[in-house]
Amino acid sequence: MVVDSPSEMASVPFVVRGRVFEGVSHTPYGGAARGQAALDLNELVWPGNVPAPLFDVPTAEIIDLLGEVGDWVRLDPDGVMAQALESLVEVSGAARPLEERSYADLWRYFSRDLSRFQLEQELGGLDVLDSWRSIEVPGAAASSFVRAFPARMVHVLAGNAPGVAAISIVRSALVKGASLLKMASNDMFTAPALLRAVSAVAPGHPLERSFSAVYWRGGDDAVESVLMRPQFFDKLVVWGGAQAVQGAARYVCPGLDLVSFDPKTSISLIGKEAFADGADLRKIAAAAATDATIHNQDACTASRFQFVEGAVADVDRFCALLVGELGVERHKAAARSEPVPADLRDEIDALRQLDPYYRVWGATDGTGMVVRSEEPVSFYPTGRVVNVVAVSEPKSVFEFIDASTQTVGIYPDRLRAELRDQLCSVGVQRVTGLGHAADTIIGLPHDGFYPLSRMVRWGKDES
């Protein structure tokens, strides 16, 4: 079935089960391609009545192939990755040095060790994918058995970090899934490039036949209401944005599960030790800035609110150092972002006038701003804006934590040890040392759950 789905979008290469449609927009999105071949929905689904392509392939073989994909991505013999990077920078307006560093890291997601680690941590080993795992049930005469079966998945990708595509491909492959990757408009290049790497190292292999990467406009009923049915897919894996998650949730029904990496906010918590004699406040501010600028503050792990325990004069000293550090080029940050959005600028301009209750450092030109206040500001800090909240004790932070709080980066370690139970009890999903919010470890829980165990269909044989 071929559908039309109107939108304005540049021509981008799509990959459908190993076949590359390059130079031709595979949707009618945009002027030149209007009226031409549209998304062929028949090509985008895997039949439910035959096993998924990877079902019979030993997991060890998949892990090896992924490792080879990683090598190919690292060496980029055909310049495919370089071309994707170029397009990402040109078309999506991404910051070049930042995306160069992100691309240089992409191969690491495919590492054999990391694959084994994920399967060990999340599924208790490889065996349960390749065979029935025997379970001794108390009081039962005979063993029972469980096995993880491949699922057919739609992954609604986020486009704010290229790693999202790599993580999604690896996860799907490790659980032998068949996955349709629905790209975001802010990154339509990374996923197809990685699938071309798969084709290069495993032409004709079931791994190649297990993936497609295409674009349609999120929420487009002409595509989504047709595809997102239990007849065609078992799992909807969605990376937030709120709209993306809510859009996908509309299609959830018995037989079609939602696996959601929800939209999140991250914060920092800095104890009074920062101001003690001998503490290097500049270094602490640099760590705080590192956490605030992850992917130019366009990531869920990026810190937006920083609760600092201390007298206002001390906290202001921290703010002055922090604003200087925000404009520093780092591994996961360019030296500046887009200018602060106009609506935020209005709010911040107003706060400038409210001395002594508020104080503002920095400029709206994308090099970083700090707003110091007694409690969190009512806007959502973005565009390299950090709200430093001066608190008299670290526990004040609990008033402001809720289900959307993902990472809390904490200084010093003493405070992290002290508060982690309570933080995670009330909804926080992750605590780290200050400056390490970007160092996500794959294979540990993600947004509060183990993704691989949700990306399979569990079968059992009960005796």
Partner: protein
């Protein structure tokens, strides 16, 4: 007055802009700050005004906690930065809620008006007595254009608003009551003033919901929905319906927002009040959107059938401008000569202009009428205007009847997804109440 030849109008507007900028910049702190930031020291040409225009969000840029925690001194400090008059002499002693705060400001000569949208924060804009008087004068000269009702207090006046409260609709009613309405034949929906505190309570509930601190009872209350208080209003609608019936042979003036007009129409039907037969000099106006209510697709036609005989009046405006733009026989909205209309691009930074022919973009206005605050506003509207002569023969600028919300237009291709997000995403059902929905 809308037929003024526009040849020397830009010069007059420029002179006014120069004078007002020089006068108000030292008085309004945020304007001074903005002017400094963007490097505008005087107005050499009209376009120099553009970087000094405020988005409507500037008037709700105060921290929400000032209201939630009753920090009225801080809220007053904030308000003083967007207002042209000092806040000395505002007595804040014993202020209990935001309505008290508004009353105290009024006592000190600050007649603010407020609007509240879906963001959960109300905007506050300052006007002084002179503003109120001038705007009442302008409104009653324009309203009903090209043949406004006489300003001799001779007309039965129907306004489906509360008679008091800090909202532009209410000030508009009060203007018509002053000049147009006949004492003894003035009808409003209620004399119960608009209560901002009630709206704040609903917003606080939403906040509690978002942070997970609301009890199940509170959630149920929220879901039951800020329940349409139309029920409580039923008797008031009956009273107005009967009065409308009694006055239908006289030239009357009628105004209401569409949801209220629709409610009135339903009550008229219930009471068996016949359609039509209105005096030919009667004028009615249905305004605003439908506020998320589901009205029948042909609600405007049904209302027109009810008011058969009367003339329908239409205008396009926003609460931040002193005057609305009335519609001509050719269906175009005529911008009053004292307003400078700018059409801005997607970024809101560059001006789009053609001496004649359609120009599309975000509407922004500079309005010299206000004394209480800076009259430069960027609207949320996406419009097509024409600075040339209208087909009706009068000079421009005019606005086509195709006004949309800018975010619906320029948000169209923004399908970017990022994993960052705030708690608002976790709340089912959003606040859609607004002060003019009573």
């Amino acid at each position: 007055m809308l037929a003024a030849d526009q040849t020397d109008l830009p010069l007059l507007q420029l002179a006014a802009a120069r004078e007002r900028f020089a006068e108000l910049r030292p008085q309004i702190r945020v304007l001074d700050q903005r002017a400094k930031d963007v490097g505008v020291s005087d107005i050499g040409k009209l376009d120099d005004l553009v970087p000094t225009l405020f988005a409507h969000t500037a008037y709700k840029s105060y921290p929400k906690s000032f209201v939630d925690k009753g920090q009225w001194d801080r809220l007053t400090l904030w308000f003083s930065t967007v207002s042209a008059a000092p806040m000395d002499g505002v007595d804040l002693d014993g202020v209990a809620d935001v309505d008290d705060w508004i009353t105290r400001l009024e006592a000190a000569g600050h007649f603010l008006f407020s609007s509240s949208g879906t963001s959960g924060k109300a905007s506050f804009i300052d006007q002084n007595q002179g503003d109120i008087d001038r705007i009442a004068d302008l409104l009653t000269r324009i309203w009903g254009w090209p043949s406004p009702p006489p300003r001799d207090n001779s007309r039965p006046l129907f306004s489906l608003t509360p008679s008091a409260g800090p909202a532009r609709l209410v000030y508009a009613f009060q203007a018509q009551a002053k000049y147009t309405g006949r004492p003894g034949a003035i009808y409003t929906l209620t004399d119960e003033p608009i209560r901002m505190a009630e709206l704040n309570r609903i917003m606080r509930l939403q906040q509690a919901l978002a942070s997970g601190r609301a009890t199940p009872d509170q959630v149920a209350e929220f879901e039951a929905g800020i329940a349409d208080r139309a029920g409580d209003m039923r008797e008031n609608y009956r009273r107005i319906a009967r009065a409308l019936d009694a006055h239908r042979r006289e030239p009357l003036v009628f105004h209401g927002s569409w949801p209220q007009v629709w409610s009135l129409l339903e009550v008229c039907r219930e009471l068996g009040i016949a359609e039509g037969g209105f005096h030919p000099d009667s004028i009615y106006l249905g305004s605003g959107g439908t506020k998320g209510l589901t009205l029948p697709g042909d609600y405007q036609e049904q209302v027109a059938r009810f008011f058969a005989g009367a003339r329908r009046y239409r205008g396009y405006g926003m609460s931040e401008t002193s005057t609305h733009s009335p519609v001509c026989a050719d269906g175009r909205f005529h911008v009053p000569p004292w307003l400078t209309l700018f059409i801005l691009d997607e970024t809101g930074e560059s001006v789009r202009y053609l001496p004649s022919g359609p120009v599309t973009g975000r509407a922004a206005y500079w309005d010299p009428v206000w004394d209480g605050h800076w009259g430069g506003t960027i609207s949320g509207d996406w419009i097509t205007a024409d600075y040339g002569r209208c087909s009706c023969g009068r000079p421009g600028p005019t606005v086509a009847d195709s006004i949309r919300r800018a975010k619906d237009v320029i948000g169209v291709d923004d399908d970017k997804i990022s994993c960052a997000g705030a708690i608002e995403a976790y709340v089912r059902g959003a606040i859609t109440t607004s002060v003019d929905r009573v």
